[in-house]
Protein backbone atom coordinates (compact mmCIF):
# COMPACT_ATOMS: atom_id res chain seq x y z
CA UNK A 1 0.00 0.00 0.00
CA UNK A 2 1.14 3.48 -0.79
CA UNK A 3 2.28 5.56 2.16
CA UNK A 4 0.48 8.63 0.98
CA UNK A 5 -2.76 9.76 -0.63
CA UNK A 6 -2.69 11.02 -4.19
CA UNK A 7 -2.80 14.75 -4.90
CA UNK A 8 -6.24 14.27 -6.43
CA UNK A 9 -7.57 12.62 -3.27
CA UNK A 10 -6.32 15.45 -1.07
CA UNK A 11 -7.63 18.04 -3.51
CA UNK A 12 -11.02 16.38 -3.46
CA UNK A 13 -11.20 16.36 0.36
CA UNK A 14 -10.06 20.00 0.42
CA UNK A 15 -12.77 20.92 -2.04
CA UNK A 16 -15.45 19.21 0.04
CA UNK A 17 -14.17 21.07 3.12
CA UNK A 18 -14.05 24.34 1.14
CA UNK A 19 -10.37 24.99 2.08
CA UNK A 20 -7.48 26.05 -0.10
CA UNK A 21 -4.13 24.37 0.49
CA UNK A 22 -0.64 25.39 -0.59
CA UNK A 23 1.89 23.07 -2.26
CA UNK A 24 3.77 22.62 1.03
CA UNK A 25 0.56 21.71 2.80
CA UNK A 26 -0.29 19.31 0.00
CA UNK A 27 2.92 17.35 0.69
CA UNK A 28 2.13 17.26 4.39
CA UNK A 29 -1.53 16.25 4.04
CA UNK A 30 -0.83 13.52 1.53
CA UNK A 31 1.18 11.77 4.26
CA UNK A 32 -0.73 12.78 7.39
CA UNK A 33 -4.21 12.10 6.06
CA UNK A 34 -3.05 8.67 4.99
CA UNK A 35 -1.77 7.95 8.52
CA UNK A 36 -5.05 9.07 10.05
CA UNK A 37 -6.98 6.97 7.59
CA UNK A 38 -4.90 3.89 8.42
CA UNK A 39 -5.61 4.35 12.13
CA UNK A 40 -9.31 4.67 11.52
CA UNK A 41 -9.28 1.62 9.25
CA UNK A 42 -8.30 -0.48 12.29
CA UNK A 43 -11.91 -0.19 13.45
CA UNK A 44 -12.82 -2.40 10.54
CA UNK A 45 -10.84 -5.22 12.17
CA UNK A 46 -12.91 -5.10 15.36
CA UNK A 47 -15.73 -7.62 15.55
CA UNK A 48 -18.90 -5.63 16.02
CA UNK A 49 -21.34 -7.42 18.30
CA UNK A 50 -24.05 -4.84 18.09
CA UNK A 51 -24.19 -2.22 15.43
CA UNK A 52 -26.63 -0.25 17.51
CA UNK A 53 -24.09 0.47 20.26
CA UNK A 54 -21.63 1.71 17.73
CA UNK A 55 -24.14 4.36 16.82
CA UNK A 56 -25.37 5.30 20.27
CA UNK A 57 -23.40 3.66 23.07
CA UNK A 58 -26.08 3.97 25.71
CA UNK A 59 -29.29 2.09 26.24
CA UNK A 60 -31.60 5.06 26.62
CA UNK A 61 -34.08 5.64 23.83
CA UNK A 62 -34.71 9.04 22.33
CA UNK A 63 -37.10 11.02 24.45
CA UNK A 64 -39.75 12.28 22.09
CA UNK A 65 -40.83 15.89 22.55
CA UNK A 66 -44.47 17.00 22.61
CA UNK A 67 -45.48 19.03 19.55
CA UNK A 68 -45.90 22.26 21.52
CA UNK A 69 -44.58 25.66 20.49
CA UNK A 70 -41.88 27.14 22.70
CA UNK A 71 -39.86 30.35 22.75
CA UNK A 72 -38.48 31.64 19.48
CA UNK A 73 -35.83 34.20 18.72
CA UNK A 74 -36.68 37.74 17.80
CA UNK A 75 -35.72 38.35 14.16
CA UNK A 76 -33.90 41.49 15.29
CA UNK A 77 -31.61 39.46 17.56
CA UNK A 78 -31.00 36.90 14.84
CA UNK A 79 -29.94 39.59 12.39
CA UNK A 80 -27.60 41.20 14.90
CA UNK A 81 -25.43 38.11 14.69
CA UNK A 82 -25.00 38.10 10.91
CA UNK A 83 -22.50 40.20 8.93
CA UNK A 84 -25.05 41.42 6.39
CA UNK A 85 -28.78 41.44 6.03
CA UNK A 86 -31.31 42.89 3.67
CA UNK A 87 -34.55 43.65 5.46
CA UNK A 88 -35.31 40.52 7.45
CA UNK A 89 -33.28 38.34 5.10
CA UNK A 90 -29.76 37.16 5.84
CA UNK A 91 -27.52 38.15 2.95
CA UNK A 92 -24.63 36.00 1.71
CA UNK A 93 -22.51 36.12 -1.45
CA UNK A 94 -24.41 34.62 -4.34
CA UNK A 95 -24.42 30.83 -4.44
CA UNK A 96 -25.78 29.00 -7.40
CA UNK A 97 -26.07 25.38 -8.19
CA UNK A 98 -28.61 24.17 -5.64
Amino acid sequence: MADRLTREEVEHVAKLARVEISDDEMEKYQVELKQILDEVMKINDVVLYDDEYMIAPWSVDSELRKDEVGDMLDAKDVLENVPRHSGNYIEVPVVLGE
Binding site: D61, D71, V94
Partner: protein, 476 residues
Amino acid sequence: MSNYIPTIGIEVHVELKTNTKIFSNAINGYGMGANTLTNVIDLGYPGTLPTINKEVIRQAIKAATVLNCEIRKDMHFDRKNYFYPDNPKNYQITQFNTPIGHDGYVLIEVDGVEKKIEIEEMHIEEDTCKSAHRGNVTLLDFNRAGVPLIEIVTKPCISSSEEAKLYIEKLREILLYAGISDCKMEEGSMRCDANVSIRPKESAPYGTKVEIKNIGSISNVGLSIQKEIMRQEKIYNNNETITPQTRRFDSKLNDTVLMRVKETGNDYRYFPEPDIPFIHLTDEDIREATKDIPMLPDERRKIYINKGITRVNSDKIINHREMSDFLNSFIESDLDFVVASNLLLGDIASYLNKTNKMLKDTLLSKEKFVVLVEKVKDNKLTSKNVKDIIEDIMEKDLTIDDIIEEKGITNITDNSIIESIVDKIIEDNMESVEDYKNGHDRSIKYLMGQIMKETKGQAEPRITMQLLKEKLDSLK
Protein backbone atom coordinates in the same frame (compact mmCIF):
# COMPACT_ATOMS: atom_id res chain seq x y z
CA MET B 1 -43.42 6.87 -31.30
CA SER B 2 -39.97 6.90 -29.77
CA ASN B 3 -37.35 4.24 -30.33
CA TYR B 4 -36.02 4.50 -26.79
CA ILE B 5 -37.27 3.15 -23.49
CA PRO B 6 -37.28 5.73 -20.68
CA THR B 7 -36.50 4.71 -17.10
CA ILE B 8 -37.70 7.16 -14.47
CA GLY B 9 -37.39 7.26 -10.70
CA ILE B 10 -38.97 9.99 -8.62
CA GLU B 11 -38.05 11.54 -5.29
CA VAL B 12 -40.70 13.57 -3.54
CA HIS B 13 -40.16 15.76 -0.49
CA VAL B 14 -43.25 16.46 1.55
CA GLU B 15 -43.48 18.86 4.48
CA LEU B 16 -45.34 17.33 7.39
CA LYS B 17 -48.26 19.07 9.03
CA THR B 18 -47.09 19.68 12.61
CA ASN B 19 -47.20 22.61 15.02
CA THR B 20 -43.46 22.72 15.56
CA LYS B 21 -40.27 21.84 13.73
CA ILE B 22 -38.67 18.42 13.73
CA PHE B 23 -35.82 19.10 16.18
CA SER B 24 -36.89 22.36 17.84
CA ASN B 25 -40.07 23.79 19.30
CA ALA B 26 -40.17 26.77 16.92
CA ILE B 27 -43.34 27.14 14.83
CA ASN B 28 -43.60 25.14 11.60
CA GLY B 29 -45.27 27.86 9.54
CA TYR B 30 -45.43 29.35 6.07
CA GLY B 31 -45.88 32.89 4.78
CA MET B 32 -44.56 34.74 7.85
CA GLY B 33 -41.91 37.48 7.88
CA ALA B 34 -38.44 36.14 7.03
CA ASN B 35 -36.46 34.72 9.96
CA THR B 36 -39.26 35.18 12.47
CA LEU B 37 -39.88 31.47 13.11
CA THR B 38 -36.52 30.29 14.38
CA ASN B 39 -34.62 29.40 17.51
CA VAL B 40 -31.01 28.51 18.28
CA ILE B 41 -31.42 24.89 17.14
CA ASP B 42 -32.74 25.86 13.69
CA LEU B 43 -29.85 28.30 13.27
CA GLY B 44 -27.30 25.66 14.26
CA TYR B 45 -25.86 27.55 17.23
CA PRO B 46 -22.97 25.77 18.92
CA GLY B 47 -23.89 23.68 21.93
CA THR B 48 -27.52 23.16 20.98
CA LEU B 49 -29.03 19.69 20.83
CA PRO B 50 -31.92 18.43 18.73
CA THR B 51 -34.95 16.75 20.29
CA ILE B 52 -37.36 14.78 18.15
CA ASN B 53 -40.92 15.98 17.74
CA LYS B 54 -43.24 13.06 18.59
CA GLU B 55 -45.79 14.22 16.02
CA VAL B 56 -43.21 13.89 13.23
CA ILE B 57 -42.70 10.22 14.06
CA ARG B 58 -46.47 9.73 14.25
CA GLN B 59 -47.04 11.38 10.85
CA ALA B 60 -44.18 9.44 9.29
CA ILE B 61 -45.65 6.14 10.55
CA LYS B 62 -48.96 7.21 9.01
CA ALA B 63 -47.27 8.05 5.71
CA ALA B 64 -45.41 4.74 5.62
CA THR B 65 -48.70 2.94 6.29
CA VAL B 66 -50.76 4.65 3.59
CA LEU B 67 -47.93 4.09 1.10
CA ASN B 68 -48.01 0.36 1.92
CA CYS B 69 -44.45 0.40 3.29
CA GLU B 70 -42.85 -1.97 5.77
CA ILE B 71 -42.09 0.02 8.91
CA ARG B 72 -38.63 -0.16 10.45
CA LYS B 73 -39.13 -0.22 14.20
CA ASP B 74 -35.48 0.32 15.18
CA MET B 75 -34.11 3.40 13.56
CA HIS B 76 -31.71 6.26 13.98
CA PHE B 77 -30.73 9.44 12.17
CA ASP B 78 -27.62 10.23 10.10
CA ARG B 79 -25.68 13.33 9.17
CA LYS B 80 -25.39 14.29 5.52
CA ASN B 81 -22.35 16.57 5.38
CA TYR B 82 -21.98 19.45 2.98
CA PHE B 83 -20.99 23.11 3.06
CA TYR B 84 -23.70 25.40 1.85
CA PRO B 85 -25.31 28.49 3.38
CA ASP B 86 -28.74 26.86 3.54
CA ASN B 87 -27.57 24.82 6.51
CA PRO B 88 -25.26 26.48 9.07
CA LYS B 89 -24.57 23.19 10.91
CA ASN B 90 -22.91 22.05 7.65
CA TYR B 91 -24.88 18.85 7.83
CA GLN B 92 -28.48 17.91 7.33
CA ILE B 93 -30.01 15.45 9.78
CA THR B 94 -31.66 12.71 7.75
CA GLN B 95 -32.16 8.93 7.75
CA PHE B 96 -29.66 7.21 5.51
CA ASN B 97 -29.19 3.73 6.95
CA THR B 98 -32.54 3.16 8.60
CA PRO B 99 -35.35 4.85 6.67
CA ILE B 100 -38.62 4.51 8.58
CA GLY B 101 -40.42 2.96 5.60
CA HIS B 102 -39.33 0.64 2.82
CA ASP B 103 -40.73 -1.59 0.05
CA GLY B 104 -44.07 0.16 -0.39
CA TYR B 105 -46.16 1.00 -3.42
CA VAL B 106 -48.74 3.33 -4.91
CA LEU B 107 -51.27 2.07 -7.45
CA ILE B 108 -51.92 4.13 -10.56
CA GLU B 109 -54.15 3.47 -13.54
CA VAL B 110 -52.54 3.81 -16.97
CA ASP B 111 -55.05 3.65 -19.84
CA GLY B 112 -57.38 1.58 -17.70
CA VAL B 113 -54.67 -0.83 -16.55
CA GLU B 114 -53.49 -0.84 -12.94
CA LYS B 115 -49.76 -0.37 -12.37
CA LYS B 116 -47.80 -0.62 -9.13
CA ILE B 117 -45.30 2.18 -8.63
CA GLU B 118 -42.87 0.65 -6.19
CA ILE B 119 -41.47 2.72 -3.35
CA GLU B 120 -37.90 1.88 -2.50
CA GLU B 121 -37.81 3.76 0.79
CA MET B 122 -39.29 6.65 2.72
CA HIS B 123 -37.27 8.57 5.28
CA ILE B 124 -37.57 11.47 7.69
CA GLU B 125 -35.33 14.53 7.47
CA GLU B 126 -35.15 18.23 8.25
CA ASP B 127 -35.78 20.90 5.63
CA THR B 128 -33.06 23.47 4.96
CA CYS B 129 -33.47 27.23 4.89
CA LYS B 130 -34.98 28.84 1.83
CA SER B 131 -32.56 30.73 -0.37
CA ALA B 132 -33.40 33.24 -3.09
CA HIS B 133 -30.83 34.51 -5.55
CA ARG B 134 -30.94 38.25 -6.28
CA GLY B 135 -28.23 39.58 -8.55
CA ASN B 136 -24.91 39.08 -6.80
CA VAL B 137 -26.35 38.16 -3.39
CA THR B 138 -28.30 35.25 -1.97
CA LEU B 139 -31.02 35.94 0.60
CA LEU B 140 -31.69 33.41 3.34
CA ASP B 141 -34.87 32.78 5.30
CA PHE B 142 -34.53 30.23 8.11
CA ASN B 143 -38.27 29.88 8.76
CA ARG B 144 -38.10 26.71 6.67
CA ALA B 145 -34.97 25.37 8.39
CA GLY B 146 -35.95 22.37 10.50
CA VAL B 147 -39.42 21.94 9.02
CA PRO B 148 -40.10 18.19 9.11
CA LEU B 149 -39.96 16.41 5.77
CA ILE B 150 -40.47 12.92 4.50
CA GLU B 151 -38.70 11.94 1.31
CA ILE B 152 -40.38 9.25 -0.76
CA VAL B 153 -38.15 7.48 -3.28
CA THR B 154 -39.52 5.21 -6.00
CA LYS B 155 -37.66 2.41 -7.72
CA PRO B 156 -36.75 3.19 -11.33
CA CYS B 157 -40.01 1.61 -12.42
CA ILE B 158 -41.77 4.53 -14.09
CA SER B 159 -41.71 4.29 -17.85
CA SER B 160 -43.32 7.48 -19.18
CA SER B 161 -43.91 11.12 -18.32
CA GLU B 162 -47.62 10.31 -18.14
CA GLU B 163 -47.02 7.61 -15.50
CA ALA B 164 -44.87 10.05 -13.55
CA LYS B 165 -47.63 12.62 -13.53
CA LEU B 166 -50.24 10.03 -12.51
CA TYR B 167 -47.98 8.87 -9.68
CA ILE B 168 -47.54 12.39 -8.32
CA GLU B 169 -51.27 13.05 -8.53
CA LYS B 170 -52.04 9.82 -6.72
CA LEU B 171 -49.38 10.36 -4.08
CA ARG B 172 -50.71 13.84 -3.42
CA GLU B 173 -54.29 12.60 -3.14
CA ILE B 174 -53.30 9.91 -0.63
CA LEU B 175 -51.15 12.18 1.54
CA LEU B 176 -53.83 14.89 1.54
CA TYR B 177 -56.53 12.45 2.65
CA ALA B 178 -54.35 10.99 5.37
CA GLY B 179 -53.75 14.54 6.66
CA ILE B 180 -49.98 14.17 6.45
CA SER B 181 -49.23 17.31 4.45
CA ASP B 182 -51.08 20.06 2.62
CA CYS B 183 -49.05 19.08 -0.49
CA LYS B 184 -49.00 22.53 -2.10
CA MET B 185 -46.40 22.35 -4.86
CA GLU B 186 -46.62 26.10 -5.50
CA GLU B 187 -45.76 26.80 -1.82
CA GLY B 188 -43.06 24.17 -1.76
CA SER B 189 -44.71 21.87 0.77
CA MET B 190 -44.47 19.16 -1.89
CA ARG B 191 -41.37 19.12 -4.11
CA CYS B 192 -40.45 16.71 -6.80
CA ASP B 193 -37.15 15.60 -8.38
CA ALA B 194 -36.98 13.07 -11.19
CA ASN B 195 -34.15 10.81 -12.38
CA VAL B 196 -34.43 10.16 -16.08
CA SER B 197 -32.47 7.88 -18.39
CA ILE B 198 -33.23 6.23 -21.70
CA ARG B 199 -31.93 3.08 -23.42
CA PRO B 200 -32.41 1.73 -26.93
CA LYS B 201 -34.20 -1.47 -25.93
CA GLU B 202 -35.36 -3.47 -22.91
CA SER B 203 -32.28 -5.72 -22.90
CA ALA B 204 -29.79 -2.85 -23.01
CA PRO B 205 -28.13 -1.64 -19.80
CA TYR B 206 -29.64 1.43 -18.13
CA GLY B 207 -28.57 4.71 -19.72
CA THR B 208 -26.84 7.58 -17.92
CA LYS B 209 -29.04 9.08 -15.23
CA VAL B 210 -29.89 12.79 -15.33
CA GLU B 211 -31.60 14.40 -12.37
CA ILE B 212 -34.25 17.10 -12.81
CA LYS B 213 -34.64 19.16 -9.65
CA ASN B 214 -37.29 21.48 -8.23
CA ILE B 215 -40.20 20.73 -10.49
CA GLY B 216 -42.74 23.28 -9.31
CA SER B 217 -46.14 21.97 -10.36
CA ILE B 218 -47.90 18.74 -11.22
CA SER B 219 -48.25 19.63 -14.89
CA ASN B 220 -44.53 20.42 -15.03
CA VAL B 221 -43.75 16.92 -13.73
CA GLY B 222 -45.00 15.41 -16.97
CA LEU B 223 -43.73 18.23 -19.15
CA SER B 224 -40.18 18.39 -17.76
CA ILE B 225 -39.69 14.62 -18.03
CA GLN B 226 -41.04 14.64 -21.58
CA LYS B 227 -38.61 17.42 -22.55
CA GLU B 228 -35.69 15.63 -20.87
CA ILE B 229 -36.46 12.39 -22.71
CA MET B 230 -36.51 14.33 -26.00
CA ARG B 231 -33.20 16.00 -25.15
CA GLN B 232 -31.54 12.66 -24.39
CA GLU B 233 -32.95 11.08 -27.55
CA LYS B 234 -31.41 13.83 -29.61
CA ILE B 235 -28.01 13.24 -27.97
CA TYR B 236 -28.26 9.50 -28.63
CA ASN B 237 -29.32 10.05 -32.23
CA ASN B 238 -26.26 12.26 -32.77
CA ASN B 239 -24.09 9.48 -31.35
CA GLU B 240 -22.97 11.73 -28.53
CA THR B 241 -22.63 10.77 -24.86
CA ILE B 242 -24.96 11.81 -22.06
CA THR B 243 -23.10 13.13 -19.01
CA PRO B 244 -24.47 12.60 -15.50
CA GLN B 245 -25.78 15.97 -14.35
CA THR B 246 -28.43 17.88 -12.47
CA ARG B 247 -30.85 20.00 -14.44
CA ARG B 248 -33.83 22.08 -13.45
CA PHE B 249 -37.07 22.78 -15.27
CA ASP B 250 -37.38 26.37 -16.41
CA SER B 251 -41.07 27.09 -16.88
CA LYS B 252 -40.32 30.21 -18.95
CA LEU B 253 -38.05 28.39 -21.39
CA ASN B 254 -40.37 25.39 -21.15
CA ASP B 255 -37.32 23.11 -21.05
CA THR B 256 -34.74 21.67 -18.66
CA VAL B 257 -31.52 23.65 -18.13
CA LEU B 258 -28.16 22.54 -16.72
CA MET B 259 -27.51 23.26 -13.03
CA ARG B 260 -24.30 21.37 -12.35
CA VAL B 261 -22.39 18.23 -13.08
CA LYS B 262 -23.31 15.81 -10.36
CA GLU B 263 -21.32 14.90 -7.25
CA THR B 264 -21.46 11.33 -6.09
CA GLY B 265 -23.30 10.22 -2.94
CA ASN B 266 -20.01 9.39 -1.18
CA ASP B 267 -19.13 13.06 -1.03
CA TYR B 268 -21.82 13.55 1.59
CA ARG B 269 -19.83 11.39 4.04
CA TYR B 270 -22.90 10.14 5.85
CA PHE B 271 -22.43 8.94 9.41
CA PRO B 272 -24.81 8.25 12.30
CA GLU B 273 -26.06 11.35 14.13
CA PRO B 274 -24.54 11.01 17.61
CA ASP B 275 -26.85 13.61 19.18
CA ILE B 276 -29.98 11.53 18.73
CA PRO B 277 -30.21 8.11 20.38
CA PHE B 278 -31.95 5.17 18.74
CA ILE B 279 -35.70 5.15 18.37
CA HIS B 280 -37.51 1.88 19.03
CA LEU B 281 -41.10 1.87 17.85
CA THR B 282 -43.58 -0.50 19.47
CA ASP B 283 -46.68 -2.10 17.94
CA GLU B 284 -48.65 0.22 20.19
CA ASP B 285 -46.90 3.28 18.69
CA ILE B 286 -47.88 2.11 15.23
CA ARG B 287 -51.46 1.33 16.26
CA GLU B 288 -51.81 4.72 17.90
CA ALA B 289 -50.41 6.59 14.88
CA THR B 290 -52.57 4.80 12.32
CA LYS B 291 -55.87 4.57 14.19
CA ASP B 292 -57.38 7.73 12.71
CA ILE B 293 -56.42 7.20 9.06
CA PRO B 294 -59.64 7.89 7.13
CA MET B 295 -60.92 5.85 4.18
CA LEU B 296 -58.45 6.50 1.36
CA PRO B 297 -59.34 7.74 -2.14
CA ASP B 298 -58.98 4.37 -3.93
CA GLU B 299 -61.49 2.71 -1.63
CA ARG B 300 -63.88 5.64 -1.96
CA ARG B 301 -63.58 5.50 -5.75
CA LYS B 302 -64.40 1.78 -5.73
CA ILE B 303 -67.50 2.31 -3.60
CA TYR B 304 -68.76 5.24 -5.69
CA ILE B 305 -68.32 3.39 -8.96
CA ASN B 306 -70.07 0.34 -7.46
CA LYS B 307 -72.97 2.57 -6.54
CA GLY B 308 -73.29 3.72 -10.15
CA ILE B 309 -71.43 7.05 -10.13
CA THR B 310 -69.27 7.58 -13.22
CA ARG B 311 -65.48 7.51 -12.92
CA VAL B 312 -65.26 11.20 -13.80
CA ASN B 313 -67.81 12.21 -11.18
CA SER B 314 -66.23 9.93 -8.57
CA ASP B 315 -62.92 11.71 -9.13
CA LYS B 316 -64.62 15.09 -8.86
CA ILE B 317 -66.17 14.18 -5.53
CA ILE B 318 -62.89 12.78 -4.20
CA ASN B 319 -61.25 16.06 -5.20
CA HIS B 320 -63.68 17.78 -2.86
CA ARG B 321 -62.79 16.15 0.44
CA GLU B 322 -65.67 17.58 2.46
CA MET B 323 -68.20 16.46 -0.14
CA SER B 324 -66.70 13.00 -0.21
CA ASP B 325 -66.87 12.72 3.59
CA PHE B 326 -70.48 13.95 3.51
CA LEU B 327 -71.41 11.37 0.87
CA ASN B 328 -69.55 8.66 2.78
CA SER B 329 -71.82 9.20 5.77
CA PHE B 330 -74.59 7.58 3.66
CA ILE B 331 -72.64 4.49 2.59
CA GLU B 332 -74.62 2.19 4.87
CA SER B 333 -77.99 3.67 3.78
CA ASP B 334 -79.85 2.96 0.54
CA LEU B 335 -79.57 6.55 -0.65
CA ASP B 336 -79.38 6.85 -4.45
CA PHE B 337 -75.71 7.80 -4.88
CA VAL B 338 -76.11 8.79 -8.52
CA VAL B 339 -78.81 11.36 -7.77
CA ALA B 340 -76.94 12.41 -4.63
CA SER B 341 -73.66 12.92 -6.49
CA ASN B 342 -75.37 14.86 -9.28
CA LEU B 343 -76.91 17.19 -6.72
CA LEU B 344 -73.62 17.61 -4.88
CA LEU B 345 -71.57 18.29 -8.01
CA GLY B 346 -74.32 20.39 -9.60
CA ASP B 347 -76.40 22.90 -7.68
CA ILE B 348 -74.72 22.37 -4.31
CA ALA B 349 -71.20 22.80 -5.71
CA SER B 350 -72.17 25.92 -7.64
CA TYR B 351 -73.83 27.36 -4.53
CA LEU B 352 -70.65 26.69 -2.52
CA ASN B 353 -68.48 28.24 -5.23
CA LYS B 354 -70.68 31.27 -5.59
CA THR B 355 -70.84 31.95 -1.86
CA ASN B 356 -67.30 30.77 -1.17
CA LYS B 357 -68.61 28.51 1.59
CA MET B 358 -67.87 25.05 2.88
CA LEU B 359 -70.68 22.54 3.38
CA LYS B 360 -70.23 22.91 7.13
CA ASP B 361 -71.04 26.63 6.83
CA THR B 362 -74.49 25.84 5.42
CA LEU B 363 -77.72 24.50 6.91
CA LEU B 364 -77.77 21.43 4.67
CA SER B 365 -78.30 18.64 7.18
CA LYS B 366 -78.05 14.93 6.43
CA GLU B 367 -81.82 14.62 6.94
CA LYS B 368 -82.56 17.45 4.51
CA PHE B 369 -80.21 15.98 1.93
CA VAL B 370 -81.92 12.56 2.09
CA VAL B 371 -85.35 14.15 1.50
CA LEU B 372 -83.96 16.28 -1.35
CA VAL B 373 -82.45 13.23 -3.08
CA GLU B 374 -85.71 11.27 -2.67
CA LYS B 375 -87.81 14.07 -4.13
CA VAL B 376 -85.53 14.53 -7.14
CA LYS B 377 -85.42 10.78 -7.70
CA ASP B 378 -89.25 10.54 -7.62
CA ASN B 379 -89.59 13.52 -9.97
CA LYS B 380 -91.33 15.48 -7.23
CA LEU B 381 -88.74 18.19 -7.73
CA THR B 382 -87.46 19.15 -11.18
CA SER B 383 -83.94 20.34 -11.79
CA LYS B 384 -85.37 23.81 -12.27
CA ASN B 385 -87.11 23.55 -8.90
CA VAL B 386 -83.85 22.60 -7.22
CA LYS B 387 -82.15 25.64 -8.76
CA ASP B 388 -84.97 27.82 -7.45
CA ILE B 389 -84.78 26.56 -3.87
CA ILE B 390 -81.11 25.69 -3.45
CA GLU B 391 -80.36 28.93 -1.63
CA ASP B 392 -83.20 28.33 0.81
CA ILE B 393 -82.06 24.75 1.35
CA MET B 394 -78.54 25.87 2.19
CA GLU B 395 -79.46 28.95 4.20
CA LYS B 396 -82.80 28.38 5.94
CA ASP B 397 -83.48 26.23 8.93
CA LEU B 398 -86.56 24.74 7.24
CA THR B 399 -87.42 21.25 6.02
CA ILE B 400 -87.52 20.60 2.26
CA ASP B 401 -91.32 20.31 2.50
CA ASP B 402 -91.54 23.67 4.27
CA ILE B 403 -89.41 25.25 1.55
CA ILE B 404 -91.52 23.72 -1.23
CA GLU B 405 -94.66 25.05 0.43
CA GLU B 406 -93.17 28.46 1.07
CA LYS B 407 -92.06 28.78 -2.56
CA GLY B 408 -95.41 27.52 -3.79
CA ILE B 409 -93.89 24.79 -5.92
CA THR B 410 -96.54 22.52 -7.37
CA ASN B 411 -95.38 20.28 -10.11
CA ILE B 412 -97.75 18.68 -12.52
CA THR B 413 -96.59 15.11 -12.67
CA ASP B 414 -99.95 13.53 -13.49
CA ASN B 415 -99.61 12.08 -16.98
CA SER B 416 -103.23 12.63 -17.94
CA ILE B 417 -103.14 16.31 -17.03
CA ILE B 418 -99.91 16.85 -18.94
CA GLU B 419 -101.31 14.92 -21.89
CA SER B 420 -104.33 17.17 -22.16
CA ILE B 421 -102.11 20.24 -22.09
CA VAL B 422 -99.82 18.75 -24.75
CA ASP B 423 -102.87 18.07 -26.93
CA LYS B 424 -104.09 21.64 -26.53
CA ILE B 425 -100.69 23.14 -27.44
CA ILE B 426 -100.37 20.91 -30.50
CA GLU B 427 -103.82 21.98 -31.67
CA ASP B 428 -103.00 25.67 -31.18
CA ASN B 429 -99.65 25.46 -32.97
CA MET B 430 -100.20 23.33 -36.04
CA GLU B 431 -97.66 25.40 -37.98
CA SER B 432 -94.85 24.34 -35.65
CA VAL B 433 -96.09 20.78 -35.75
CA GLU B 434 -95.82 20.89 -39.55
CA ASP B 435 -92.28 22.26 -39.24
CA TYR B 436 -91.36 19.41 -36.92
CA LYS B 437 -92.84 16.89 -39.35
CA ASN B 438 -90.68 18.44 -42.07
CA GLY B 439 -87.60 17.78 -40.02
CA HIS B 440 -87.21 21.08 -38.19
CA ASP B 441 -86.30 19.52 -34.87
CA ARG B 442 -85.97 22.89 -33.24
CA SER B 443 -89.68 23.51 -33.31
CA ILE B 444 -90.12 20.92 -30.54
CA LYS B 445 -88.37 23.36 -28.23
CA TYR B 446 -90.84 26.07 -29.17
CA LEU B 447 -93.73 23.74 -28.38
CA MET B 448 -92.15 22.77 -25.09
CA GLY B 449 -91.82 26.45 -24.26
CA GLN B 450 -95.50 26.98 -24.97
CA ILE B 451 -96.42 24.16 -22.60
CA MET B 452 -94.24 25.62 -19.87
CA LYS B 453 -95.83 29.01 -20.44
CA GLU B 454 -99.28 27.48 -20.19
CA THR B 455 -98.41 25.64 -16.95
CA LYS B 456 -96.29 28.43 -15.47
CA GLY B 457 -93.31 26.09 -15.59
CA GLN B 458 -94.98 23.50 -13.41
CA ALA B 459 -95.16 20.62 -15.88
CA GLU B 460 -92.53 18.03 -15.02
CA PRO B 461 -90.11 18.50 -17.93
CA ARG B 462 -88.96 14.93 -18.42
CA ILE B 463 -92.48 13.50 -18.57
CA THR B 464 -93.70 16.41 -20.70
CA MET B 465 -90.92 16.09 -23.25
CA GLN B 466 -91.50 12.37 -23.52
CA LEU B 467 -95.25 12.79 -24.06
CA LEU B 468 -94.76 15.62 -26.55
CA LYS B 469 -92.30 13.59 -28.60
CA GLU B 470 -94.58 10.56 -28.63
CA LYS B 471 -97.52 12.68 -29.78
CA LEU B 472 -95.57 14.44 -32.51
CA ASP B 473 -94.01 11.24 -33.79
CA SER B 474 -97.45 9.62 -33.98
CA LEU B 475 -98.55 12.51 -36.21
CA LYS B 476 -95.70 11.96 -38.65
